[in-house]
């Protein structure tokens, strides 16, 4: 049986030489966390099952910095590496794969041009394309939306793009299904309501997406403790849990989180 994966996420500001890892709160304030490949190396040693790099600057001239980060990381980190942020063409995806990435994550560019998912999946396989969704709860119910029950009442989920700065009007649940039919092999699902809040994952959102697609779903946004991971694994079919702050700022190591989960019956790789 497949293990549940624990994935640290490194949000990279590539505006400084070599890049640095930062962490925002609710997609805004920024704290500095470290040098990308050093943190990645530490997480690998601690037992990370995979590592996600997101280029939050995502401008074309900084892609070279990101490929540098990937090359440096892949010399000493031997678990899958996923890279996202600003990849908007097959050529750009190829640069990132050639630097040593195993998967790329797409968000804005796929929303703007869904065929990009097909193009990359055709060349590199479905497993290499991760669709990232930044979803926000909307309690104003509209016709044709996929409604989910939550403790705060029924809502639908709206996709955002451009790093959470703009909304699309697109229903996140419908988009998840469509993206998988186009060839996305995995969904990285971030709750904008929870991201950086330390309130735990959005369980109804994660559950709703995991029920609608037959590809792995990575829960993201709001994780502040191993208990939050336990909750998302016990209450949903999420294949993986992604977190940033709790690892970056030394609150919990990945090893500690995994021991905690294993002791409580979750199948994780120790």
């Amino acid at each position: 049986m497949l293990a549940r994966r624990i994935i640290p996420c490194l949000d990279c500001d590539l505006g400084v030489p070599g890049g640095r890892v930062v962490k925002g709160i609710e997609f805004k304030q920024i704290r500095y966390a470290g040098i990308p490949w050093e943190l990645a190396g530490q997480y690998y040693q601690d037992g990370a099952d995979e590592i996600v790099f997101l280029d939050i600057t995502a401008s074309a001239d900084r892609r070279e910095t990101m490929t540098g980060v990937i090359k440096e990381t892949s010399r000493s980190v031997f678990v899958p590496l996923a890279v996202g942020g600003g990849i908007s063409s097959l050529d750009q995806a190829r640069e990132v794969f050639n630097a040593g990435a195993d998967k790329i994550t797409l968000n804005t560019s796929a929303l703007k041009r869904p065929e990009l998912i097909e193009e990359i999946a055709e060349q590199y396989g479905n497993q290499a394309v991760v669709l990232a969704i930044d979803a926000k709860r909307r309690y104003s119910l509209e016709e044709s939306r996929e409604i989910v029950q939550t403790d705060d009442g029924p809502c639908w989920f709206e996709c955002s793009y451009y790093g959470g700065r703009q909304f699309t009007g697109i229903d996140a649940l419908a988009w998840a299904r469509r993206a998988v039919s186009l060839g996305a092999g995995e969904i990285l699902l971030t709750s904008m309501d929870r991201d950086g809040t330390y309130d735990g994952f959005d369980i109804p959102l994660t559950d709703a997406v995991a029920r609608r697609v037959n590809v792995p779903v990575i829960a993201s946004g709001g994780c502040a403790s191993p208990d939050h991971m336990l909750e998302v694994f016990n209450q949903t079919d999420a294949s993986a849990a992604l977190a940033a702050s709790i690892f970056h700022f030394g609150e919990w190591s990945i090893g500690q989180v995994k021991s905690y989960l294993k002791d409580r019956g979750v199948n994780v790789r120790i």
């Binding site: 497949l2 293990a3 037992g47 099952d49 892949s74 031997f78 792995p216």
Partner: protein, 201 residues
């Protein structure tokens, strides 16, 4: 000692290169069949679908077989393991290398396809390439098809994903894995260390 990675133009081989380099294997690439000359050990990585993989690999077929028969150590990875079989449901009509009797079949309906993630090994044979690996150790898999040998005495390890899935095979100087040792953390590196050590003998 020369370890050669067959580069038949199907994409990113840095991961396997870096991992072999990390464990002291000092590998080089073979872009043409004549580059295999002098190899003490050969790695056949696998990328893409069975048919397109074989289309690119077929120019190496004769040379690979010759080295295999001469006793050169061989390591197949992922689709690089599947191509050792005779054929695959993924690409009807495409002939594999056929070194292992049997065919490659699709994972059963009802499980997540592709199998993507970490799964544990059930060890069937304690072969040299699995030195330091214990029952239950986890490895990274990404695949939708798996090899089904006619003679199950070649199966070194399996993993469970709806059915018992062939995870590693061993025959004479050939070892192959469905999982990716180069992406499987310290346990994966252990297998590559075993490979490098055997190549030195």
């Amino acid at each position: 000692m020369t370890i050669v990675i067959v580069d038949y133009g199907m994409g990113n081989l840095f991961s396997i290169y870096n991992a072999l380099d990390h464990v002291g294997g000092n590998p080089r690439f073979a872009r043409d069949p004549q580059d295999l000359k002098g190899a003490k050990a050969i790695v056949v990585p696998g990328v893409g679908a069975f048919g397109s993989c074989m289309a690119q690999l077929s120019r190496f077929s004769e040379s690979l077989l010759q080295h295999f028969q001469e006793g050169v150590l061989m390591l197949g990875i992922c689709v690089g393991m599947q191509v050792l079989f005779e054929e695959s449901e993924e690409s009807p009509g495409a002939a594999g290398l056929g070194w292992i009797s049997g065919r490659v079949v699709r994972l059963p309906a009802g499980v997540m396809i592709p199998q993507m993630g970490w799964n544990c090994l059930k060890i069937k044979q304690h072969v040299e390439m699995l030195d330091g690996i214990s029952e239950g150790d986890m490895f990274y898999f990404v695949h939708s098809y798996y090899g089904l040998p006619e003679d199950d005495s070649v199966v070194a390890a399996t993993t469970e994903h709806g059915v018992d899935v062939t995870a590693a095979i061993c025959r004479d100087n050939l070892f192959a894995t469905q999982f990716h040792p180069e992406k499987s953390g310290p346990k994966g590196l252990q297998i590559l260390k075993n490979f490098v050590r055997a190549a030195r003998c």
